[in-house]
Point group: C2
Chain length 123, copies 2
Amino acid sequence: MVGTWHYVLAKHAKAMCMLERELGDKHGLGPSEFEVLDQMVHHDRKLRIQELCDEVHLSQSALSRVVARLEKAALVSRGACDSDRRGVFVCITEEGRARHAAALPTQRAVLAEIFDDTPVLIA
Amino acid sequence: MVGTWHYVLAKHAKAMCMLERELGDKHGLGPSEFEVLDQMVHHDRKLRIQELCDEVHLSQSALSRVVARLEKAALVSRGACDSDRRGVFVCITEEGRARHAAALPTQRAVLAEIFDDTPVLIA
DNA sequence: TTGCATTAGATGCGGGTGCATGTATTGTTC
DNA sequence: GAACAATACATGCACCCGCATCTAATGCAA
């Protein structure tokens, strides 16, 4: 229990730190930005902010800002939702797809290094 | 690999959030503050800042500030190191021990709730 | 001893986060 | 349909973090 927590703490700290540097230096992306792009690619359709909120581990406010940053970088676009004009659809751009594709190997490499010693624990 | 990473991400986010609220509201401690107190109690002796740095997953600068906060709250005291006058010894106070003892069940309860569904993975 | 690289810890700074709140829109109840 | 609660997203704010840098002390070499 406590051991699991310390494991999570250690891996999270190391991975976050390394992802921040690697993704930042090589692709100009933060871990949260990459995660959102990753979800967009994975779902392969426009998503509501709230849908994204369920998938990434960020508060709604943090997510709102991540999307704003991504939009400023032209990696996603925000569009109004017709059925509910309060809603916002997020749509990945071609440039966003490209940036994600470029960054993916970097992320995988970091994870491979971090979790190298860890047997397959979680499906 | 990616699955493990998402597991770590999810558990870390949930636990951190809950610890912050529970420890903060009930005991006036942040997760980092608790972690440092926990290490002090565990080692049961005065520790160099750098020794703490190896145990908690914080940068040296963050740790320096956590110790400063703890000292301001009179939960630890900082003392000069005779053998190396650059060094700083950190020593937990009686009040610090008491606060830690009071907060420990809260932390354990949070971890129990978070890792309830997780079989024993890491020793 | 003097000079310089190294180390311990503190601090300025920029950036990201969550919470509380604000604004706009929707649903609901009378 | 008017008033009010609820929802979606944005934003002000305070806080914590890591990086770069600063200061002081140490070690080492000439």
